[in-house]
Point group: D3
Chain length 61, copies 6
């Protein structure tokens, strides 16, 4: 049942997302004591010009 939203900068590829989903699901299912099949992970790649950090666009850092 757990639902995980990961927001990160665009740049990671499919291999990284696959590994992310595998590891996060393992962690969450073990700690939530639920089957892995019940875990959803949604990954959002955000462009650096849509991400603000410290008052600036990350694209400007």
């Amino acid at each position: 049942m757990p639902v995980v939203h990961v927001n990160w900068w665009k740049g990671a590829g499919e291999a990284e997302r696959r590994q992310l989903v595998e590891e996060v699901t393992g962690t969450v299912s073990r700690l939530a004591k639920c089957p892995e099949a019940a875990v959803t992970v949604i990954v959002t790649d955000v462009e650096k010009d849509h991400w603000g950090l410290g008052g600036k666009l990350a694209a400007d850092l």
Copy 2:
């Protein structure tokens, strides 16, 4: 005032989103006892290679 975020797999078209918004708005406004005009629905189409289910990318299932 209600705000609804729908995350689903890419694939549904504009007709489905139009119907989704109409029906969800009707349900929510009736149950929240607020005007339909006050309901916002944001639909996010997620690629299957950005969606994890049961520890795997949905694109790999």
Copy 3:
């Protein structure tokens, strides 16, 4: 697989949430062409003093 987040003002009770989940799930599963069992709905009751509308706290309206 669809994941729906509903944010609304505190006030609706369990009966309304039960109905909300039933109707939204029916709508989403039909339009996404997925089984009802695959639909998750997370309902968040927000206090009016944590909700801003038109530049004011809803609690002040």
Copy 4:
């Protein structure tokens, strides 16, 4: 530490996002009494045909 998600209609450009991030970060850091460096702002541009308002797609309004 604060995390701000802004969802709005596609249309604003990079200059508007830069200004948004600067002003929102200033407001939040001052009110949360935390350094500006600790504030994250994530901006999501939503197409009008993915945004429902009053039961209709914004694209149809």
Copy 5:
């Protein structure tokens, strides 16, 4: 139409939320070129023992 979610640590009071809503709404409406009445801000106070930073619970920092 813009919808803003602010997540921050529990601690700020109603006066800070009122100011937050006023200022963020002003910024967003000006940059999105929409009326202030169209802006929604949802504020979520998060306990430090539900917030992770740098791999630790903020409550442990």
Copy 6:
């Protein structure tokens, strides 16, 4: 910079959240190639009577 939101059923305690934050941060920082200090994890415990699964409240399952 990554921001992770975990929504799960109320029930896990502080020890589980501490472990969740540690492991998820390790995974995300390694795959995003960013320092652990840059990772934020926000954990939301959701009551079963606010969580819909398969058209029913989880509290009714």
